[in-house]
Symmetry: D2
Subunit: 379 residues, 4 copies
C-alpha cells in the first residue's frame, strides 16, 4: 500500500498510486481535518497542530458547535486564522491528507469507513476507542456494541515480543487507533517489568489518580467544579473500566504470552490534566529496585518521550503538563514483597493528542518528534 | 484505676481517688488544654471543641505563635472568647482535666510523662505517633528514634480478635494514642475482610489519594499552592511510610494472627482534606462482592460513624469533609481475582481530631458522639 | 397577623387564630419542608437544619431527582433518616409549619401563593429572587418577567434609616424573601459607610471574586471543573447583574435617600464557596481608615454574625467557609482618595441558607442564632 | 552605543565596537545566562528559552539550590542537556551575551552594575523591580531602600504620548527593566482609555484576582496549598502595592500628563497562574462601550500579543495560560456611569518571562515574536 510520503516542511509525492494528484506537491504541506474540535481531545490536537511546522489545519468540525468560529469554542488556540466549525460529514472531510477523529466512542467507525473507501491514501487517526481492540469479544464485553475492527495501534514505544517496537508498524499505517490515556500510563509502566518476568502477572493492580479533562467536555453534574473540588472520587471499581482489555492486549503483545490479570481503579482528583498510574504486583524473592529500573531502562533508554527516573525518584503529573512525556519511577518494598511502578503523563498530550501526533508523524514520514515538546508547563 | 466520670453537660465527681477536689463539681465542665493549637491537627481539635457542649477549652498553647491571640492564628474558630496562645510547658498545662497534644512526632513523650506523673487523674491524648506502636523495633525501624512506650490506641471501632472492640479499652484509659489518619482509613477498610479470611493477607496493597492538610502547616516548598495545584505527587513509595507498621499492628489485633504484609502508597492530590484509601488484595476463588459487604456489615452495622455502602456504590472524600464519618464500599473483580475495598474519611476529623473526641468522650464517660457530626460540608 | 410562636425545642400554640390545631402542640417541633433539596441552596438548608434543634425536617422535594432517596442526591447530609425526595406540589407541601423554597428564579411565586392562600399561618421563605425587589420596574428591567410582589426582606442586620434594623420586621413575617448572596456581601459592606456619608454614593464599585456553588448545580459546560480550574472568569460585566437593584434598594432603605449608583463585577474563581466583595468609592478629603471602621462598628458592634476587623486586617473567604459569619475590613488610600471596604462570606451560608435560618428563627420566635455557628471549616 | 545585532537563527557581528570578538560569529547563537533559575520567574524564562531557536542557554545560576542539577529543581524543563545550577557571581556570569536576572527585589543592582562595567555590550534584563521606576522618591516610598537607577522599560506595546511605542526604545537598550506582572495587566488595560480622555483619571480603580505563582516559590505559610485552596485573600489593600507607582508612571508616559490616581487591590485566588485586572473608572456622560473598544483598538490593532475582544466578550485567565497574550474586554455601565475594562494575562509569561523575551528579541534584533506563542494551554 503506497502513499504520499512527506518530509518535514516539504512534500514529495511518491511515485506510486494512490497518491493524490497535487497541483504543486513540493509547495504544500499535508492538509489535516480535525473532527470534534470543540471537545478536549480535539481541541488539544488543534493546540499541538498550531505549533506543528509540517502540516496545515485545513478543516475543523464539530457537532453542536458547528457554525461557530473556533475562537469562541477554543479561545486559547491561535491557528493564525479563525476557522468556522463545520458539520461533521463525508463532504466536509473529503480531500484531506489526514483526518483526526475525536468523537465519542462508537461514532468513528462509519465515517472512517466512508473516507477510507473514497480515498485509500487518506490517513485516519481515531482518538476514540472503536478500533483499538483486536478481540471482538473484549469489545462486546466492555463496550456493549458491535466491533468496528482493529486498526494499527498508535503506541510507538510499546516493546513487542519479537524485539521490535509498535513504532515499526506505524510507518505504513493508514488507519491508526490512538491508545486510551489510562491504558498508555499503565501499559508502558508494566510492560517492561512483566516482559522481564520480574513480577507476578496474575495479579497486577493499578490505581490511577486522574484529572477531569479525561472525562470530556460534555456537561454532566458530577463533573462540575463544585462537585469535584475538594474530593477524590473513584469510578469503574471492580474491573469494569474499558481500558482493562486494552492494557492486557498490550501486555500480551509485549510478552507474547497471555495470562496477565489486572485490577484497575481510576480516581478522579481535583486537577484538569494528568494521570498518575500507581501499579503494583508481587515480585519474586530477591528482586530489587535496581532490577525493576534495569528492565525499564532496557526498554526505554532510547525513547525520546519516556524517562526512567533514578532510584528513589518518582514522577508527578505536574512535571508533565502540556508535554508529550511519560516519566516512570519504581521501587521494591522488600517487607511486603511487592513492586510499585509509577508513571505520570498528561492525559491530553502523551495520553491522547501528542500520541496521535507521534503516529501521524511516523505515518507521514516526518521526524517522530515534530511539533512535540518534552518541556512542561509548571507551576 | 479510678477517675472522675462526667456526664454530658454536667459533672459528678466519682467517690474514689485520685479525682481532683473541685470547689463545685456539679457546676463545671472538664477543662481541656490543647497543645499545638496553631497547627492543623490542633486547630481542628479546637474547631470541634468549640461545638462540644461537655467540656471547656481552658488553655491553648503553641510554639512559634505563642503570645498571639487565637483569632490571628486560627481566625475561623470562635470559642466565645479569644485566648492568647501560651508557651507549651508543664506550668501552663498543669491543672487541666484533659490535655490534647498536637505536637510533631517525638515531642510528646517528655511532657506527657511529666503531666501524668504530677496528676495521675489527668487524661492525655496524643495526636502524634509517639505512643501508637507496641513494638519498639517497629518504632525504631520507622521513626529512627527511641520508643516512648505504648498507650491505649484510640480507634473505638477496631474489631478485636476476641470479639470485643477497641472501644472497650478506652473507657478506662488515661493515656490515649490517637491513630494516624492513613492508618485509620486502611485499617478499618481491611480489618473486616482480613478477619473474615476473604482476602490473601500476604500481599495487601493500598494506594491513597490524600489532601495536603495531612502534611501539616509548616511552610515547605513542596506544599506550596503553586507546586500542588494540578499535580498528583506520590511519596514514601516502596513501603517506607510510617503508618505501615500501625496498620499491621491493627490487623494483628483484629485477627489474632500475624503474617499480614502491606504495600502502601500515599499520593498527594490537590485538595486540602480527605483520604481515599483504595485497598486491594487477592480473593479466594468464588468470593463475591456480597461476601465482602457482608463481612464489613458484620463488623460495622452498629457503628455510628462507619457506613458500609450498598453494592455498586463507592465513597468520595467530598461527602465526608468536616464530618466524623468513614464510608466504605467494596467490589470483587472476578476477572482478575482481586477485591477492592475503598474507604473515605476526612483526615483532620475521623482521621485525627474527631477520633480524639470520640476517645475523649469515652474516657470521660460522655456519650461517644458528643460534639461530633455525621453531616459533612459539601459542596 | 397572629401566628404560632415556638420556643426553642418546644412548641406553644398562641391563643389566636390562624394557628393550626395540633394534636399535642407542646410535644412537637415545627415541621419544615425544603423544596429543591437536590440543589446547592436547598442542600445547604438541609445541612444546617440537620443540626438545628428547634425544627423537624418533615418533607424534602425536588424536580428531576424526585423519587430518589436523599442519601443518593446529597450523601453528605445525615438527617437521622433517609427521606425520599417528593415531587414539588401543593399536595406534598400542605400541612407544614415552614416551607423553604429553593427554586430557580421565577418558579416560587405560584406555589407560594397557593400555600399561603390555603394556610395563612404557614411561614414561607423564598431563597430565590422572586420577592426581593419592591420596584416592579426594577424586576422587569433585570429579570425580564412579571413581578411577583414584595416580601419581607430577610437581612436581619441591615440598618434602616429610622434607626431600627431589618430584624424588627422579620419577627412578624410569614413571607420572607431571602437576600441574594452577592447582594448581602456588598450591601452590608457599603451600607454603614454610605449612611455615614463617608463615601461618594454616586460611583460605588464592587468587584467580587466568587466561588462556583453560587452558579448552581445544573450541569453547564462553563461550570465544569476543567473549565473552571486555573481560571478567573468575569460575568455580567457592565452593570447587568441582577443583584445591582437589590443592593441599591438596600442602600436606599439604609439611608432613606436614593441617588446611589453602583458598578458590580463578579468574577468566578476556582473555589466552591465564598464571596469576597471588594468595594471601592471616593472619600471626602481627610477621611481616614479609622472613620470607616468607626462607621462599621457603630452599625455592627452588637451583631453576632458580623465581625469588623481591626485596622490593617482584611478577611478571606477561607475563614468563613461553612460559618454564618460576614467579616469586614476597610482602608482609605489617601494617595488616591478612595476607600476600600472588603467583606467575606460563605455564599451558601450567610449568603443563603444561614440567612434563611436566621429569619426562620426570628419568625418562629426562636433565638436568632439557633442552629448556626460562627466557627468555619478550615483549612 | 553599538552592539552585536543578531538575526534569527544566525549571527552577524556589527562592525562597530564594543562587539565582542567571536571565533566564528556567523555560526553561533547568543549565549544567555539565567540568574535565579530555581524560582518561578527564572524557571519560566528557561521554559520559554528551551523553545527559543535564536539563543543558547549557556549558564543557569541559583542561590540555595546551587550545585544541584536543573532536572531536580525544575524537572518540567528540557533544555536538551541538564546543567548544574551555578552560584550567582560575576565570575559565573562573565562572558555571556545576555544575562537575565530573576532575583528578589533589591539584589540585582550590584551584580548588574559589575557586569555592565566589565562588558558594555552585554544585554542585561532585570525581572525584578529595581530599575523600573524613574522617580527615586517613588522607589523610596514603596520599596523602602535606595534607588538603583532607571533602565529602559520592557513593555513594547505601551503607547507613548508622542505617538511612538515603548518598543522603539528597546531596540537600542542594553539594560532592560522587565515590568511587574500586575502593572502590565493594569497599564495596558487603562492606558488607551485614559489617553483617549474617556475616563476620569483621578479615581481609577483596579481589583485583580491573581494566582499564587506571582508570590514566588519561597516557602511561606500563607502560600501553602491548604491555606490557599478554597479561599480568596486580598493583600496590599489601601494603595500600598508596589505596582501602583509603576502603573502611574506608565500612564504618565502614555498621556504626557500626570494627575492620574489609582486604587489597586490584588486578591489571591486558588490558581497557580493568571491575573484578571478588573479596572473601573467614571466615564463622561454619553460615553459608550463602543468608544472604549475603539480606543483600545486604536492602540492595539497592530499588536501581535494584545487582543481586544468584541463587544460583550470578556477574557478569562484560563485562555491565556502559558501564552504571551494579553486579552482585553470593556463595557460601559450606563446606569452607574462607569467603565469596566478587564484584561487577562499569564503573570509568568506576558507578565514576566514572555515580556522579557519580547524585549530580548528586540534588543538582539530578532523578530519580536521569536520563541513566543499566542496559543495557551487549556483546559
Amino acid at each position: 500500500m503506497h502513499r504520499t510520503v512527506y518530509t518535514s516542511g516539504m512534500t514529495s509525492a511518491s511515485t506510486a498510486s494512490p497518491a493524490r494528484t497535487m497541483s504543486d506537491p513540493a509547495s504544500r504541506r499535508p492538509r489535516v481535518a480535525v473532527v470534534g474540535a470543540s471537545g478536549y481531545a480535539g481541541g488539544e490536537t488543534l493546540r499541538l497542530l498550531a505549533g506543528h511546522p509540517g502540516v496545515e489545519v485545513a478543516t475543523v468540525t464539530a457537532h453542536s458547535s458547528a457554525g461557530r468560529p473556533l475562537s469562541e469554542v477554543a479561545p486559547h488556540i491561535d491557528l493564525g486564522h479563525d476557522p468556522v466549525l463545520q458539520e461533521t460529514s463525508v463532504e466536509t472531510l473529503r480531500g484531506h491528507d489526514v483526518v483526526v477523529l475525536a468523537l465519542p466512542h462508537g461514532q468513528s467507525g462509519a465515517i472512517a469507513a466512508a473516507l477510507r473507501a473514497e480515498d485509500p491514501s487518506v490517513l485516519v487517526l481515531d482518538l476514540g476507542a472503536d478500533h483499538r481492540l483486536e478481540s471482538a469479544q473484549d469489545w462486546e464485553d466492555y463496550y456493549r456494541s458491535e466491533h468496528s475492527g482493529t486498526w494499527t495501534y498508535g503506541m510507538p514505544e510499546l516493546p513487542l515480543a519479537d524485539g521490535t517496537r509498535q513504532r515499526d508498524l506505524l510507518r505504513d499505517a493508514h488507519e491508526i487507533a490512538v491508545p486510551g490515556c489510562n491504558a498508555t500510563a499503565v501499559s508502558l509502566a508494566l510492560a517492561p517489568v512483566v516482559r522481564a518476568g520480574l513480577v507476578d502477572p496474575a495479579a497486577l493492580n493499578a490505581v490511577l489518580p486522574v484529572g477531569y479533562s479525561g472525562a470530556g467536555r460534555a456537561a454532566k453534574q458530577h463533573l462540575l467544579f463544585s462537585e469535584a473540588a475538594g474530593s477524590a472520587s473513584p469510578y469503574a471499581v471492580g474491573g469494569t473500566h474499558r481500558h482493562v482489555p486494552e492494557v492486557l492486549q498490550n501486555l500480551r503483545r509485549a510478552t507474547g504470552t497471555d495470562g496477565q490479570r489486572l485490577t484497575f481503579t481510576p480516581v478522579l482528583v481535583p486537577m484538569s490534566r494528568g494521570i498518575l498510574a500507581v501499579c503494583t504486583a508481587r515480585v519474586a524473592e530477591g528482586t530489587t529496585t535496581g532490577d525493576l529500573l534495569d528492565a525499564l531502562q532496557r526498554d526505554y533508554a532510547e525513547e525520546h518521550f519516556v524517562t526512567v527516573l533514578p532510584e528513589g525518584a518518582f514522577p508527578t503529573t505536574g512535571e508533565v503538563t502540556g508535554a508529550n512525556t511519560l516519566r516512570i519511577g519504581a521501587a521494591v518494598d522488600r517487607r511486603s514483597g511487592q513492586a510499585t511502578v509509577i508513571s505520570a503523563l498528561d492525559n491530553l498530550v502523551k495520553g491522547t493528542a501528542g500520541a496521535a501526533l507521534q503516529s501521524l508523524n511516523l505515518a507521514l514520514g516526518l521526524p517522530e518528534t515534530t511539533g512535540l515538546t518534552r518541556t512542561a508547563l509548571a507551576p
